[in-house]
Amino acid sequence: MFFTLHPSSGVPLYRQLFDQLRHRIVSGQLVDGAQLPSVRELAAQLHLNPLTVSKVFSLLEQGGLVESRRGLGTFVAHRGPSLTLAARVKQLRPAVEQVAASAAHLRVPEDEVRRLLEEAFARLGHYQEQSA
């Protein structure tokens, strides 16, 4: 499994790795039941502190994206997040505000932004089926 990480970015490494794994899970690149590498393997491969990787795994687990089976490893289990909707909205808000600001700056009409969003959702068809 390959990842692109930027250690000197202002975004913490655990966040970068979490975002990439989450994207692969919700977009269906990693299917339900697929096994993830172990914390040790991934830490060694990415030259990262194992604490960083285990933090990512526990966040994925909290979000209901993976489940760990004792003695066997960590598996994709896309059951939908266990956080409340309000908490999930709070996480999403900065990204949406960024999009709105960019749209205003580039003078892209609101309708056009909505259409783009719909397109992006369509490409994540897998995710929509699951959450429907």
């Binding site: 966040r15 830490a43 502190n49 194992p50 604490l51």
Partner: protein
């Protein structure tokens, strides 16, 4: 024993009348990899030497695994790896001889790993230390310390004078120790990109005092460059919370601050009729803000 593998409690240390370290309270949780950052002469090496048990603090206590490293016995000392900033190896010996020597002194000494690492780092173990470059001497010193399989490893500027490939191999060896036996590592460096990849804790010292100590993730998530925008009259009334730096212009304010209570700031700014944006900072930006003048 407590949760900290390395701890300094209200430590003062002078050299003649010059203060090197003052009232230092540093704690490194067991199993964590802590980056010790500071400008030149900030007191990093003094902290390392006290933790290695080479010099005593004048005030306060220095603890490694809950004990005073200054009076460690041979076994406790073997569990404490230390790579000094200035190499202290005998120049007339070869790396090969040194590995044999340590293997005889310490039961758990991993000579196979030492030999393997030297080969990976392209160092001829049969050359005398004095014939190696400074960077290569540093590598030998590092390899000898890692082969001790220590539970606490103190690295004082281990990657100075090394190329990027050698630095990566070195950091991998450190991570391997952390992974395989939960070694606690305290690493001082000027090369922030190294530490940014591997550290989970960061401690920044300036003029011998601790400026900030927190997890790297938390630092990146809370310390932000905040830009406040609003009409001149409204901005004049804005009280900016404690910040590392602050600049005011006609219609904007820029401040680097810890945004751990963002909601409160957002509310007070909204009430004042101003808006703001918060931008993330790299470790280097944070370091310059915290350790700078």
């Amino acid at each position: 024993m407590n949760d900290y593998a390395v701890e300094t409690i209200q430590v003062d240390r002078y050299f003649a009348k010059v203060v090197a370290v003052r009232d230092l309270n540093l704690r490194v949780p067991r199993g964590s990899l802590c980056g010790l950052l500071g400008r030149n002469a900030a007191g990093k090496s003094t902290v390392m030497r006290m933790l290695a048990g080479l010099i005593k603090p004048h005030c306060g206590r220095v603890l490694v695994h809950g004990g005073d490293p200054f009076i460690f016995n041979a076994e406790q000392r073997a569990a404490l790896g230390y790579v000094p900033e200035r190499i202290v190896l005998p120049l007339f010996l070869t790396a090969e001889k040194l590995i044999k020597f340590f293997a005889r002194l310490q039961v758990n000494y991993d000579s196979t790993q030492a030999t393997g690492l030297l080969a990976k780092l392209e160092i001829n173990p049969r050359r005398k230390i004095g014939e190696l470059s400074l960077g290569q001497q540093k590598i030998v010193s590092f390899v000898l310390a890692v082969a001790q399989r220590p539970t606490v490893l103190l690295l004082d500027e281990p990657s100075a004078n090394l190329d990027a490939v050698a630095r990566r191999i070195m950091l991998d060896a450190v991570l391997e120790l952390a992974r395989e036996q939960g070694t606690t590592v305290l690493l001082s460096t000027h090369i922030l990109s190294d530490i940014e990849r591997v550290a989970d804790q960061i401690a920044i010292i300036a003029h011998g005092t601790l400026k900030i100590a927190d997890s790297l993730d938390r630092l990146k998530e809370t310390i932000k460059r905040v830009r406040i925008v609003g009409p001149h009259e409204a901005l004049a009334g804005v009280v900016v919370p404690a910040s590392f730096s602050l600049r005011r212009a006609e219609t904007e304010i820029e401040a680097v601050m810890s945004l751990d209570n963002e909601e409160a700031l957002a509310q007070s700014l909204r009430a004042a009729g101003c808006s703001y944006e918060a931008n993330p900072l790299s470790l280097e930006d944070i370091f310059v803000e915290v350790a700078g003048p």
